[in-house]
Chain length 422, copies 4
């Protein structure tokens, strides 16, 4: 079937080149291709499948809804499915965490949520500039791309990307320098050339950017600085929210409360497109219809999203993530030692990465793993980081199995490297 | 249940203010709210539901796919569901029309498709400016918003929107002036101040802009001018493609072949988010991953989209649209006469509008209709146009019923107007 | 001496390529090169020398000032020389015309005056967009270049030029269409995509753009439209002010009062750099130092500018311009007839142009004239217009002499053309 | 006479508010107002009068030129006066320093020179972004303003200023951090969000920015980085060139060769507007007329500029600057000690500044000095620096006299401060 894609699909297609199988079905941590071959999934659709593929609780809710001809598409009119989601989100997510946010459902993609967040921050402050960080990734439409660091993606715009200023992310200037010192100087200095910003936008763990983790202290200081200077703090939790780092929100651990939060990817829990912008009530200064879009009321996604919230009834999932995270980190550290490879293991919860000193190694490992039946991606501007993104609900045995494959893949990539060098 | 939305949903919500019901289920041309009240739908989710709500053929295909745990989310990896859609789209849409396009699946919203199209046109030509038309509507993310005419939406950007030049749409300078004369002068004159554009983007029928119809002659001349000047012609068929004007594409009637076409809304046929960019093979100069997004491979939407293509096996649907269009136009004309109201009826296929000389009338009619159980929207920069967008598969009896409600709504709005004036 | 320039001066040098002599001295209407050859001047340094080269009255004032060590440079501190200029400008220019303007002296170039005017208009209105016209020329720094039509000059920016919208100048759409109809539609339509502008900037006669003359009616309507819509009207009188069209200001004839006027070129009367922005008092909302520059207080230029104002004590100069203008126009018309050439004569006062149907002819005539001892330039985006810009104080005999040279140059250019064709 | 200015001159006027006298004549280091009061000049028109007011050698050359009706204005046609300047500039400035540059004469202001330099750097590299430094000052037209740090001036633009990235100047992050480390990281990292720049532009001593001095080591490293990354290095020597720091160019001491150099202010030596862009021959890729302007050939300025070059026949001036600089620095240091004030003295050659810990002190000193007959300005974003900019040719006695006045002014400002506090 691959010839169909090669003949008719645009050259822009990407992941299919790294993982050249035609997938047909999937369940839990496993994907199956049209030839019946099974793959363990350590990628989870770039963080969309935190609860695994086609989880039964969600599937049942979705099928029941479709069966009874629940309304599917309502733009942003009221629907029963949306009402139920909002209600449960209040009960299971916001209230227990003492958070008070208004909910905006923009177009059902992460980039649309970011566009909405940036618009609102600009409107509320009357300012234009937005501060983003080195190696940030926020999306591909022009507003989001302007705050994304990757120069290859930026060049794709075909027009200059303005109204964004990049500051060094935590750790960018070495471990001795708190990069927020520079940010504070620039803010305090009317001659710095940097316009007072409307907002700061960041991922607490930069996923695409190379699994770069902001420390809790750094996040707290950033919250304090932005508060003091009247700058809207936007946490883009699209990839590392919905439990990826342990808590529902990735910023919980630092005990900060952002002004705006963007969510998408794992929000529907079933791979159905859905996005959400959380807005502090006092910032909800939208005029009706000021930001719109067609698919703001995609009810099947609300149905599965509501079912997925049941994972947050108790702390079981969060605890499981913590214990699996330890397992992953320990094992990765050991691999580096055993194979005598220079590298760094970093991450939070079930987003973990290994940055290899040998820049090409991560890609060779990813390739070897795929051949051995494990889907695992690389990250970082030079694909120098092997990124582990298993589902949060993966069984410990499956997790160990995947780590074994990585271990072997690493050995194979090293052997290949030696062979090639010889 | 409305209080949930009023308390917790952002002020940005819009359509729910015009149609304040909480919808629960829907079938064919009918929507039902939580109180069991039924509404005839002449709005179709802004053109998303060309085949009506929850059409059975699509529903069956979707439920079967979910039941067997067909893979849901694959980013842009290959999937069986995508392969089948591509194949059928070739067979039933492109080949019969002699069209040769590569397919790009961007993020599943119209604005994302437009962003992709603009990026590609800029890349291929190495130019930045894009020509758009007065009262155009192409989306809300910054790239698409820059080519959208509505000043309220534009102001929402919070930053200047550049690299777009607006030209007068067909008819904008009165019936005596061919607006393309001006466009040609500007293109030919190196002193005009207007940069040679990468692309021209347009809707053949401007829906949001007020049901403004470009004539076939004008479209042909525009195609000829853009070809001669090496400008990429992008037809944004998001709202009026997928059969809305009769043919699958709205530009078929003018016998032109755009360089790029964007589709979304009714593409999945079931209200599931999906978008598609059609690209002439020689323009498919994307580098892998140059434009990406999470939800490029949302398989349930491919499944329903494939099932929806079966409507295009023969010309039955196209013929039905033509005959219903005549019915609608005739009836609307008659209403104007009978009520002695000044106004213009215009449209193509099953997008029809009445622009009233009395600017507030359309909104009063819409309100009266909703109270009588008909969902119908207004359009145009001052909401001066009543826009009819029934499903293509609506029964003739239902269509007549809806037109009756409009007729009464018109009477009521006029009576109210008189009462208020008195 | 030419080798010095060819070796050491940048390739950007331009006019020296059309008029390759090394000039040493000049007086009245005549320039003399280092070889002693004399040239009659119908170009006047692009409108800088309205009163001829080194006019004695100004020369004496200047030398006396230098002799007594009058202060030369004061930034924008107060100086006696500036005070005297301001006083006389009030008495001889503003008061007699019933005009009330505040005076701003920006950096001493036209482009700096335009930059200041645009900044102020944007500040006062809080809007960003500025409307300019096809074939406008306002300067080379980025702000001025953005409102300049010439695409070759614009490309020189190396960055996109934004916040400017071009409208068709008077006559651009043929003699049947009032181009302001289109401008008014766009202003009235919130869906036009054209942001409500801060200002409209224009030359009443476009000099570089090809001697395009706006009619008095068109100017009056433009003044009325801008007033009604709260748009700042800026007349750029840098090239055609200071008497070039007859009155001191080019807009006097249309009896309009712009909100802001820019002057430079002939303002000092002696070729010394000086620029002036006239601002309606209610628009003078500058904060001290908000726009600055080093050479705002160049006293020698104030001294000659004050002396030059004496030309405006009575109406003698204005009358002389009118009678010379008639002479020039009559003669040019006759030449076209006698040589049987298709072309248009147009202009106001002593800026007159001939647009030839044969696009290359103007340049050939200019070249032939220079060889015969007359300096005369071309204009228009394709250099298709021969532009006559003699000094206002030229003697009638000299004027006739120059016209004779043009007559012969025309004959020669036609003969050359025929020879080349044969 | 002050009422004339107050009534008729725009509110934008600035320096006249700090130094409210009406100046009439000037000679050497002294200015005289209309009341006959004399002022010692430690400001020199912001660096325009390096050779003092109306120096006799230049005056004589200028008067002789005017007397014999030397041509004044030639646009960029060849003139004898320009030819002579170019020749002497080669002989006395470029050749002795082993420098090879092409000369471009843009419009006669610093901002115009900067606009030309930026355009050329963008053209040559095909890139758009320009790196500038915190507290940089390069001019007021939109291109130059975009690379200027001062937020008040930037806000004056009324439009966003783009295509500029600010980096920390030498010393900005404290004495322990080499700010070029950050710049290098950003350049090396394709995910940094900072586009690879066309150029870096800087002043080696930031004058307006607060007399911030870049060290020779830092400059050398910057030259090395820009060379390695193919970035055009532009030194803006408008304020600190022409001998201000000792050598003719301020970058001589660091033994670096910039790709482009801008000069203006003291270039004509007599306060006549003139500007010059020096371009490495291989970068002189201008197309004829690509950047133009009216006053590119202002011959009186060429005449005085040529006469001024005689100061550079030998090293006398440079040596005098060095010894006067020592005198100034020693004396300023002593003042701080004697008055027991916290502050820093910094500068190079005859641009010296004192940054006081008490932010308002510099302005109070400047005011007290003016009352005592000394013109001296403040600098820095909060006017926290007292800036000494005496002429290079000032007599040692005059220099001492001025320093005495500062000493007393300091005492008075301190006394006033105490009184106010009491």
């Amino acid at each position: 079937m691959q010839h169909i894609f090669e003949e008719h699909e645009s050259e822009v297609r990407g992941y299919c080149r790294s993982f050249p199988a035609v997938f047909a079905s999937a369940k839990g941590a496993w994907m199956t291709d049209t030839e019946g071959r099974r793959y363990l999934d350590f990628f989870c659709g770039a963080g969309v499948l935190n609860y695994g593929h086609n989880p039964d609780r969600l599937k049942q809710a979705l099928m029941a809804y479709l069966m009874r001809d629940g309304i599917t598409h309502t733009l942003d009119m009221y629907s029963e499915a949306k009402g139920q989601f909002i209600e449960r989100f209040q009960q299971l997510v916001l209230q227990p965490r003492g958070l008070s946010y208004k909910l905006q459902f923009p177009g059902p993609t992460g980039t649309n949520a970011v566009e909405a967040a940036l618009k609102l921050a600009r409107k509320v402050t009357g300012r234009e500039q937005v501060v983003s960080f080195t190696n940030a990734f926020h999306g591909m439409s022009l507003g989001s791309l302007a705050v994304t660091g990757n120069s290859f993606k930026r060049a794709g715009a075909g027009v200059p990307l303005n109204h964004a200023t990049f500051m060094p992310f935590d750790g960018y200037m070495g471990s001795d320098t708190d990069t927020l010192d520079y940010f504070e100087s620039v803010l305090a200095d009317n001659g710095s050339g940097t316009q007072h910003p409307a907002a700061v936008i960041l991922e607490t763990v930069q996923a695409e950017g190379g699994v770069n983790v902001a420390s809790a202290d750094w996040l707290r200081r950033l919250r304090e600085i932005t508060q003091r200077h009247g700058i809207v703090l936007i946490v883009d939790d699209i990839q590392v929210g919905c439990g990826r780092t342990g808590g529902f929100f990735s910023f919980e651990e630092a005990s900060i409360v952002p002004d705006i939060v963007t969510l998408s990817k794992s929000l529907s829990g079933y791979g159905l497109p859905l996005a959400l912008v959380l807005i502090k009530p006092e910032l909800d200064q939208w005029t009706p219809g000021e930001h719109n879009g067609t698919f703001r009321g995609h009810c099947p996604a609300f149905v599965t999203a509501t079912a997925a919230l049941e994972y947050w009834r108790d702390t079981q999932l969060q605890e499981a993530v913590a214990s699996k995270a330890t397992l992953v980190q320990t094992r990765l550290q050991r691999m580096l030692q055993q194979h005598g490879i220079k590298g760094t293991v970093r991450g939070r919860g079930l987003i973990q990465g290994v940055e290899f000193a040998d820049a090409g190694l991560a890609q060779r490992v990813s390739k070897a793993c795929f051949e051995a039946g494990l889907v695992i991606e690389t990250a970082g501007i030079n694909d120098q980081v092997l990124k582990l993104l298993p589902s949060l609900t993966i069984r410990e045995g499956e997790l160990a199995q995947g780590l074994d494959i990585i271990d072997q893949g690493l050995q194979q990539a090293l052997d290949d490297g030696l062979r090639r060098a010889a």
